[in-house]
């Protein structure tokens, strides 16, 4: 009976996808213009990281709705296939194959988790499928290999750590001791390695009084907070995010740790709404990019306002940075596909032609514009500031913002981040732009 089920499934699957299979077969060959633009999107829909994944999915649905109302992308209606990253890598790589081979997607938006990205990117090489890395931050992707079909449409770990460090060095240049409390997984570890390398180069002699990597999703940090209270570091770095960061900030602020030490929270933006007034003012906060709700000089204020308002109207909350990253990937796709079609004189680009169109592509975001370098890495500006409250928002937003140009804080093409960070000189601080009041 199971055989029957299996066969039936197989036949159903085969029948349903016979068309797309033929298309998926030859990637470099000419491909017919499809009737709809299928996009596979991997994101967290369950587990702790769904606090990022679900808002991003909501943003995608919102934008695709708008796009389809306005006639689609390149005249094609968009159809998204969402895939949950949470069940694990072995499941995800299977899903990636399904998206490409069975659903016949034209492009894949891959992954929040760095682990997922590291697994999907080589698949994009193998299957020759254009893949936009829409949120993951690991610097290893483009520094450890070439991936002709993969492009990251936002910044990554190195600028996202270096910018807050530079901000700290400007804001509180005389700190002598530092403690780190990061989530125990790749981002937590990698970001600390990056920070440490840069800090030792830019301000040698800072004493690290505690290195703590509580487990991802730990429900309680009171022990860690006690230890930090006892150690009294000048600065506490935490690249934690999501529920972990919310818990840490709550427990730390309740016990007045924020009064003893200056916090640097590079991924704070996504948790500010949840924390509301609990977030203490005057600490360094980052957004993994420049998309703050109070961006001092957005490139297209109307577009930013429209996106934020539409998202709020539909979901009753402000969009957080993964929403912006999703929007960036969609903008990149619009621009890249348009460029590829133009290059082909109006013809439908095949997979290789599509991928080539992304190299060196510049596309606009509501706040700025992003250029994809020749290695596939996007250059996104970083804005860091001090947490503060104003009348416009019921949660903390940055003040005294410094906008770091992407090129300044990103590792040059062909170098490895840690090696590059070690070569930084304290003189670099002189180039840091002045804070923008507001």
């Amino acid at each position: 009976m199971n055989d029957a089920i299996t066969r039936r499934d197989a036949l159903l699957g085969a029948a349903a996808t016979a068309g797309s299979l033929l298309l998926a077969g030859g990637n470099a060959r000419a491909q017919a213009r499809p009737t709809e633009l299928r996009i596979g999107i991997t994101t967290f829909l369950s587990g702790a990281a769904s606090v990022f994944g679900v808002p991003a999915r909501q943003a995608a649905e919102l934008l695709f709705e708008e796009i389809n109302k306005a006639g689609g992308i390149a005249g094609l209606p968009v159809r998204a296939y969402f895939v949950d990253e949470a069940p694990g890598t072995d499941h995800l790589v299977g899903e990636y194959r399904r998206l490409v081979q069975n659903e016949g997607v034209y492009v894949v938006f891959a992954s929040i988790s760095s682990g997922s990205c590291l697994a999907c990117t080589p698949l994009s090489d193998e299957m020759r499928k254009t893949t936009l890395l829409w949120d993951c931050g690991t610097q290893r992707i483009f520094e450890e290999g070439k991936h002709p079909y993969a492009f990251r449409t936002q910044g990554y770990g190195t600028p996202e750590v270096l910018a807050p460090l530079l901000y700290l060095l400007k804001h509180k240049p005389d700190f002598r001791t530092l403690a780190v409390i990061n989530q125990d997984y790749a981002w937590g570890r990698d970001s600390w390695e990056l920070w440490k390398a840069a800090m030792d180069a830019l301000k040698p002699g800072v004493r690290v009084v505690a290195e703590m990597f509580p487990r991802f999703g730990a429900p309680d940090y009171s022990t860690e907070v006690t230890r930090l209270l006892a150690a009294r570091p000048d600065v506490i770095l935490s690249t934690s995010w999501g529920g972990d960061l919310v818990t840490l900030v709550r427990q730390a602020s309740e016990r007045r740790l924020f009064e003893r030490s200056t916090f640097v929270l590079p991924v704070a933006e996504a948790s500010m709404q949840v924390l509301g007034r609990t977030m203490p003012a005057g600490h360094v906060i980052g957004a993994r990019g420049d998309h703050w709700n109070n961006h001092p000089q957005p490139k297209d204020p109307a577009r930013l306002a429209k996106f934020v308002d539409a998202y709020r109207a539909k979901y009753n909350e402000y969009p957080i940075y993964p929403c912006h990253h999703m929007a960036q990937a969609i903008s990149a796709l619009q621009a890249g596909l348009g460029r590829a079609i133009q290059a082909k004189g109006g013809g439908w680009p095949n997979d290789l032609e599509l991928a080539n169109a992304f190299r060196g592509l510049t596309f606009d975001t509501p706040t700025s514009s992003i250029t994809l370098r020749e290695d596939g890495q996007g250059l996104e500006d970083q804005i860091v500031g001090l947490s503060s409250f104003n009348d416009r928002f019921p949660f903390a937003v940055p003040r005294d913002m410094i906008m770091f140009p992407a090129a300044m804080v990103s590792t040059p093409v062909g170098q490895k981040s840690v090696d590059w960070l070690k070569t930084l000189k304290p003189e670099m601080l002189a180039q840091v732009p002045a804070p923008i009041a507001g």
């Binding site: 009976m1 499934d9 197989a10 699957g13 069940p87 069975n102």
Partner: protein, 336 residues
């Protein structure tokens, strides 16, 4: 007053997870069914390329579940068996940069998992029931934590990408490689299936089943129940290692998630879904599990767990013999 464990009357037949014996489906039928299933798998893999990948993983997991099945025969549930799968997988990931040859990596992964199985087994076979289950769980969580914590070696939760592999010295193209992995998994599945089948019918295997109902009697017959269980445990670890190696070579990426307790739960899930009555059960279960998961995830990406859980609940409540139980019941009904 009575310490006797069995009910005075015969237990209702449907309650039994395992039901093998002369009354079961004959060897010929089981063999025919296995051939049919293998043929169906090949057909599906050929017709729907991405399912080839899913089926390869299903076959690999089925091999690990064969190990769970052995322990279930002894009435023991290991809620930490994913540790052997993870051992096999990480062996491949660690060694692949140095030795690219699949035909060397696979036995190496099996060897290491077997050694771990022996070390852990010597300890856990002294315990039964919840203690056995929970000790396995605890040890697998220790492995999970180590894989996560020893970031410098394991890259933490990001996991390790498995480098390019060679098959008997050659580096085939992607399509061929997928077929090779599928074929290898199928071959191992058949091999281990036959091995387990023979083992379960052997004196050792029947003594293993005796642990479930009358462990004291074994001792009073001069048989060391611990040794019998240890043998099964080590064999199951070996198969877990083989499964892990296959998973790593197929998905080409390993993460600590492979060792998390929910992964072990999945293996037990598959064992029950497929039915513990036959060596074919794990593979039926694994195929069913992977397909349900894939289709549930495709249909409702945010509630696939709910669907899987409901399927499991329904199977336990209404078909505790699993897919195999339903199949063999039907076959027997037809035969009568």
């Amino acid at each position: 007053m009575s310490g006797d464990r069995d009910a005075p009357a015969a237990a209702p037949a449907h309650v039994q997870v395992h039901a093998q014996g002369p009354a079961g489906v004959t060897l010929a039928r089981e063999g025919a069914l296995a051939l049919l299933a293998a043929a169906a798998a090949i057909l599906v893999a050929w017709a729907v390329p991405w399912l080839k990948f899913v089926l390869t993983l299903a076959l690999a997991k089925g091999i690990a579940v064969l190990g769970i099945l052995l322990l279930l025969r002894a009435g023991q549930v290991s809620f930490g068996h994913a540790m052997f799968l993870a051992t096999g997988a990480y062996t491949v990931a660690f060694v692949a940069p140095r030795i690219e040859e699949v035909l060397l990596l696979l036995p190496l992964a099996m060897l290491l998992a077997t050694l771990l199985g022996l070390a852990v087994g010597l300890f856990v076979v002294r315990y039964r029931d919840i203690f056995f289950g929970m000790l396995n769980l605890a040890l697998s969580m220790v492995l999970y934590s180590l894989l996560e914590k020893l970031y410098d070696y394991t890259k933490g939760t990001d996991g390790i990408r498995v480098a390019a592999l060679r098959f008997a010295g050659t580096v085939p193209g992607r399509e061929t490689q997928e077929w090779l992995m599928f074929g290898l998994a199928l071959l191992l599945a058949i091999g281990f299936g036959l091995l387990v089948r023979a083992y379960l019918g052997s004196p050792m295997g029947r003594a293993l089943a005796g642990i479930k109902t009358r462990e004291t009697r074994l001792e009073f017959m001069g048989i060391s129940a611990r040794r019998v269980l240890l043998f099964a445990y080590v064999l199951s670890a070996l198969m877990g290692g083989a499964a892990g190696a296959l998973v790593a070579m197929t998905s080409r990426h390993v993460t600590p998630q492979l060792a998390y307790w929910t992964s072990s739960g999945e293996l037990v899930f598959i064992a029950i879904l497929g039915g513990a009555g036959s060596a074919l059960g794990p593979f039926l279960g694994a195929a069913g599990f992977e397909l349900v998961r894939v289709y549930a995830a495709a249909a409702v990406a945010e509630a696939w767990q709910l669907i899987l859980g409901s399927v499991l609940l329904l199977v336990i409540l209404f078909a505790p013999g699993g897919i195999w139980g339903m199949l063999s019941g039907r076959l027997r009904g037809r035969g009568a």
